[in-house]
Amino acid sequence: MSDPNAAVYVRDLTVAYEEKPVLWDVDLDIPAGTLTAIVGPNGAGKSTLIKTILGLVPSAAGTIRIFGEKYDLNRKAVGYVPQRGSVDWDFPTDALDVVTMGLYGKLGWFKRPGKAEREIALDCLHQVGMSDFAKRQISQLSGGQQQRVFLARALAQDARLYFMDEPFAGVDATTEVAIINILQRLRDTGKTVVVVHHDLDTVPTYFDRVALLNVRLIATGPVAETFTQNNLQRAYGGKIAFLSR
């Protein structure tokens, strides 16, 4: 069952803030070319899980491999969409410039983005349907548009594996459909996409695989087998009676 060369391979991952364990002994495999949702109640450690995989949060113990390598050695294979609220949107920059930041990792230390980078960034904006807003100051974009700009920045990273922290939070219905279409298209071209997700109702229609998390990993696998009443009960406790419909 375990495949060290999977897109994401996590073993015995434990993370603690101060005194409290946030993640306990998590084992997780995410096969390449899948679209996976990480779901669980508030405080379950969903964001912490992807932040730890990305090296943003130190782990107390455990092994993490990205395509069979340590993350440090495989950074360019990974793209990241942080939560929209994590940055100050009053920052003096426009949509195109933010997308160009996705290319900084591949530019040399002192090299500046030039015409080629601009073309790539414009193309990524086009893919998320934001071509008309390239020169728009980012604070003048709607929440959904800001989220699309972040997505375009990740596309510019041209990674094989994407981590996205609640990309559907606070976006309008149209944007949600647009974003999931892009994610599914990414999956169809062989990329691996891992999404921290909140809305249980949409899990079966949006995703191939699901990982149920509540400090410990409750269950993981294809949605059809894993996203069951029983597992949800174990992840959420008694709080999800509404799901029976």
Binding site: D12, T14, P21, W24, D25, S59, A60, A61, G62, T63
Partner: protein, 368 residues
């Protein structure tokens, strides 16, 4: 009263008045507002000087207090315009006001005694010379009367509005819904900070008054989470540091204000290191203990997760622990040895197995 005693009393009164004004300022995370107010006082003093056509302590006091409140209003107006963030607004407003003050002084009152250096340093050593007299009777140093009065006013303010201050500091939303007016209270508190700074700065200088307002409450907050105790400790820390600083300044013959600020720093640093719960030392010790406890728990949970599965034999070797838990070989054997010693695990067929009490611990940890 001997001058030494008088200066000591002034220092203690300053410590008490400032600490009382500082508690809620610090709790509201607005410490730097005290710094801004203390600098912005200068133009107010100058305006008071111009209006009263000479040095007049009462008019100067009012002018300075108004300048302090003007700082607060300007900072809030800039922040509300959403063009400037709060920290930048503070960092912008007070130097401009200070510059206006310096400009007016140097242009029109170049030879008058409003020494801009003195605004920053203050000179508590002169306190006994400025005496307050009523009907020809010497009533002691003026600054003692002022600072003592301020300590009293601030104390009364805290007692009168304790509930309201507490509520609006920790739950502004609830305060509004209960019919309190946080805005009014906010300006009252800022007014208190302003008059305290004005009162303290003529005796101890602007920077020291800021030190006395900020450092004691922050130090106290490291020692307790209970508000009444925090207020008491702030007063104690303020007064004691003031005395220590004064005594050291006398002994070494250096600036009293500077030495009081330095003593405050030393007291803060000591508390930061040695506070029983939130101190850096006890934090480090606790973290170490937790890490060891944590490792043991992780070991038993790991073994329990894989107990009675086909991979058990493979998952439960020492080498595997090193690999998967990412532990150093040394650490792994230490953790294992400790768990073995506590009777949580034992060796069986070359791999680690949980003992009944190990299973029990794993259950406890798992149900947490």
């Amino acid at each position: 009263m001997s001058p030494t005693l008088q200066i000591g009393l002034v220092a203690v009164a300053a410590g008490l008045a400032c600490a009382l004004a500082g508690v809620f300022l610090v709790l509201r995370r607005m410490a730097m507002m005290a710094d801004a107010i203390s600098h912005a006082i200068l133009p107010g003093l100058v305006a008071g000087y111009i209006l009263a056509k000479g040095p007049n302590i009462f008019v100067g006091f009012i002018g300075a207090a108004i300048a302090g409140l003007l700082t607060v209003v300007l900072v809030e107006a800039l922040t509300k315009s959403r063009r400037v963030k709060e920290d930048s607004a503070i960092g912008l407003v007070f130097p401009v006001l200070f510059a206006i003050g310096v400009l007016v002084v140097s242009k029109y009152y170049a030879n008058v005694h409003i020494d801009t250096d003195a605004v920053l340093f203050g000179e508590i050593a002169f306190a006994p010379f400025d005496t307050f007299s009523l009907g020809g009777r010497d009533l002691g140093p003026q600054s003692l009367w002022i600072l003592g009065g301020l300590a009293l006013i601030n104390g009364i303010f805290l007692i009168l509005f304790y509930k309201e201050l507490k509520l609006s500091t920790f739950d502004a939303g609830l305060a509004v819904s209960l019919g309190f007016a946080p805005v009014v209270l906010h300006y009252l508190l800022m007014g208190i900070v302003a008059i305290t700074t004005v009162g303290a700065f003529s005796a101890v200088g602007a920077i020291l008054s800021v030190a006395l307002i900020i450092v004691p409450p922050v130090s106290a907050s490291l020692l307790t989470q209970r508000l009444p105790i925090m207020i008491g400790l702030s007063m104690l820390i303020g007064a004691v540091s003031a005395l220590i600083g004064y005594w050291l300044a006398m002994a070494w013959n250096v600036s009293i204000s500077g030495m009081i600020a330095t003593s405050l720093g030393a007291v803060f640093f000591l508390i930061l290191l040695a506070a029983p719960k939130r101190g850096l030392v006890s934090q480090a010790v606790r973290r170490r203990k937790q890490r060891s406890q944590f490792a043991t728990e992780m070991l038993v949970v790991h073994l329990a997760t894989h107990a009675a599965t086909p991979e058990e034999a493979h998952e439960s070797t020492l080498m595997h622990l090193e690999q998967e838990l990412g532990w150093e070989p040394e650490q792994a054997s230490k953790v294992v040895a400790k768990a073995q010693h506590s009777g949580l695990i034992h060796y069986q067929d070359g791999s680690l197995r949980l003992t009944p009490s190990g299973h029990e611990l794993a259950q406890v940890v798992a149900s947490r």
